[in-house]
């Protein structure tokens, strides 16, 4: 009896050991670190949709939501790296330094940092989306659809990503309608429905009849619907929140990239990369165009979309001047990625100053 017990104990230990070894060898575990809650229906929500795509591709994933961009982030990253995750996606700009710091301590774990530019160690990659390409399309639509020639823009924080979006939007709108003015309101939040709605209302009361946003909630498109003006969805297709107001949305589509990278880890082909994908690679997706838009505008937008995808058209093609009239990009040239990544000046036609 004793012998039997010991034997079965030993054999189950052996079995367990082989299983664990097999699991380690085969399964790749991916972790995601989120700045907001997955329930924000905006930035973090879309990253989580991407995570689910990784899960659907047969990999194990974990996520930690609401992680502040402070020393807390380091602690979370260290814990994830320690608990057997092979690749960790850090999905907010402010995780840049913590990611690089922890990456140094765990050379065998791969780190993927969204929207950053620091790759201090060979196991750190960065990735971002060319959302400004989507905003070129929104600007074209806004410039065509506006009757008051006043376009409202609810912005979040004065960082290059947001400034680039405002510029790309304004340049495109001016191209189809030289008389437009873009009024910017800074909400100083990514995500506060009440405040976002109030900002949009202020712009509408001041005559804006098309509202663009660079904040995350659906409050702005709902406010536009109530006031009877046009708006654009942000991060996900917001059409169902405001069927009359929303002309189209720019969707963030991280899934394909995430699946790709996790597969690369599994195959051992992962290497350090700096990825900046746009409409062409499917990381930026334009939702269905609303039927309220005239047919010729819709076909124009479709063509623009194809040209942006193929690279035939660039959102920042010269001549581009800043607010003071200084030449930023010469005629026939396009802005390079370095200029885009650090863009902190408004182009001509944008009203107001960038908050410092």
């Amino acid at each position: 009896m004793h012998k039997f017990l010991i034997r079965s104990f030993v054999s189950s230990l052996v079995l367990l050991f082989t299983l664990t070894v097999a699991a380690v060898a085969k399964d790749v575990k991916a972790a995601f670190v989120y700045i907001g809650p997955t329930g924000d229906h905006g930035w973090t929500y879309q990253h989580d949709v991407g995570r689910k795509a990784v899960e659907a591709a047969g990999f194990k994933t974990t996520y930690v939501e609401g992680v502040p961009e402070s020393a807390d982030a380091e602690r979370v990253l260290r814990q994830l790296a320690n608990s057997g995750h092979d690749v960790i996606f850090t999905t907010s700009f402010g995780y840049m330094n913590p990611t690089n710091k922890v990456a140094k301590e765990f050379p065998n774990v791969k780190f993927e940092h969204a929207t950053g530019y620091k790759r201090e160690h060979p196991n750190v990659s960065t990735y971002a989306a060319r959302f400004y390409e989507g905003r070129t399309i929104l600007g074209t639509i806004a410039g065509t659809m506006t009757k008051s020639n006043v376009i409202g823009y609810v912005a979040s924080f004065p960082i290059p990503e947001v400034i680039r979006g405002i510029n790309s939007f304004t340049l495109a709108a001016q191209k189809v309608n030289p008389n437009i003015k873009t009024k910017i309101v800074w909400a100083f939040t990514w995500y506060d429905p009440g405040k976002e709605a109030e900002a949009a209302k202020a712009l509408i009361d001041q005559g804006a009849d098309v509202i663009a946003q660079h904040t995350d909630s659906t409050a702005i498109v709902q406010m536009a619907e109530k006031a009877g003006v046009y708006a654009f969805g942000q991060a996900s297709d917001m059409d169902k929140f405001a069927p009359k107001a929303v002309l189209t949305s720019v969707e963030n589509n991280w899934g394909p990239y995430y699946v790709d990278r996790v597969k690369a880890v599994a195959n051992g082909t992962w290497n350090q990369k700096d990825t900046w994908h746009g409409i062409g690679d499917g990381m930026v997706v334009i939702s269905d165009l609303d039927s309220q838009m005239p047919a010729d505008l819709r076909s124009k937008v479709k063509k623009l979309q194809a040209d942006l995808a193929s690279g035939k058209v660039h959102s920042f093609t010269g001549p581009i001047y800043d607010q003071k009239g200084n030449l930023m990009v010469a005629e026939g040239k396009t802005a390079d990625d370095g200029m885009l990544a650090g863009m902190m000046t408004y182009v001509k036609g944008v009203e107001g100053d960038i908050p410092k």
């Binding site: 329930g39 229906h41 429905p193 009440g194 109030e198 209302k201 202020a202 909630s217 659906t218 100053d353």
Partner: protein, 310 residues
């Protein structure tokens, strides 16, 4: 730019709309605090009201069920607080903070299935009168029933506390629970009732946000308004009319700073965004600086547990 009179009316109307949740939650908390109980769980009760209202509206399709359900949810969660602080005599501050954390967490959990669902349109009253009188009409007409209730509430609260016998009892319990108890008043019962009432009003404030103001559910959508409401109660020195003034200033500056930005006023935006917080506190402190009145209106036993068994 030319400022026409209807534009002013529109701005005032949006200021009032943004003040509604603050007024509701503050007036509720004021009654709670007047009975001597400090409930720091306003933010938590508000967010519970927001998710309950939105969830019930989505599931049952009835706005009435949703509004009353949100109030009931506020009552239920404040019952936990009441039981802990009044029956088990726990510390008010710690329990209230726990209530907020609990509320934010549980609302996120319930809310998982309600993200990304558009809300229903909430009916407004007197819509047809909206364009009759310039300036006045947009302010008076075309709002939800909750809006009108919120603006009547400070006056009703004032009347209740000053002119009714129950109001007197509430104040007595808050000022000197021992004497009230000696007079045969059931202190614990009064405090229970006041806590639950505060919960109901916070729940309604949350429902206003998720069903009327920005009809949607997303996590943390109250965005700290519960804390603002709490601060308003203190800075108004427990006076419901001053709560109304404070809420209007706070909402007003938030909205006016957006207008100033859109017009292109050259003041640092960071300063403009901080303005509502700074000015509201300054104004309320200035209008309430009479120290004798502060002593009179501050509930003397605020935040202190009452041990006597009734």
């Amino acid at each position: 730019m030319i400022i026409d009179i209807n534009f002013v009316g529109l701005i005032i109307a949006s200021i009032m709309a943004s003040a509604v949740p603050l007024i509701l939650a503050s007036c509720g908390e004021l009654i709670t605090e007047r009975s001597g109980v400090l409930n720091l769980g306003v933010e938590g009760m508000m967010i519970i009201g927001a998710i309950s209202g939105f969830a019930l509206m989505t599931v049952t399709g009835s706005l009435i069920v949703a509004v009353f359900g949100a109030m009931l949810a506020g009552v239920l969660i404040s019952t936990i607080f009441a039981f802990l602080t009044q029956t088990l005599i726990t510390n008010h501050v710690a329990t209230g903070l726990a209530l907020t954390i609990f509320g934010i967490g549980i609302s996120a959990m319930i809310g998982k299935n309600f993200v990304g669902i558009p809300g229903k349109e909430f009916p407004v009253l007197f819509e047809s009168l909206k364009d009759t009188i310039p300036l006045i009409s947009p302010i008076l007409f075309g709002h939800s029933i909750v809006f009108y209730f919120a603006f009547a509430l400070p006056f009703m609260t004032n009347y209740f506390l000053k002119k009714t016998k129950i109001g007197l009892i509430v104040r007595a319990v808050g000022d000197s629970p021992e004497s009230a108890s000696n007079q045969g008043i059931n202190v614990r019962l009064v405090r229970y009732a006041c806590i639950l009432y505060g919960g109901a009003m916070s729940g309604l404030a949350g429902a206003y946000l998720s069903m009327i103001y920005t009809p949607q559910w997303i996590e943390n959508m109250t965005g700290g308004r519960g804390w603002i409401a709490l601060a308003l109660v203190v800075f108004s020195t427990w006076n419901p009319i001053k709560i109304l003034i404070g809420a209007m200033i706070f909402g007003g500056l938030t909205i006016i700073q957006f207008h100033m930005q859109a017009i292109g006023v050259r003041i640092p935006v960071q300063f403009l965004t901080a303005l509502p917080y700074i000015v509201t506190i300054i104004v309320l402190v200035v209008i309430s600086r009479d120290s004798r009145k502060i002593r009179l209106s501050t509930p003397s036993s605020l935040g202190k547990s009452f041990h006597k068994d009734n």
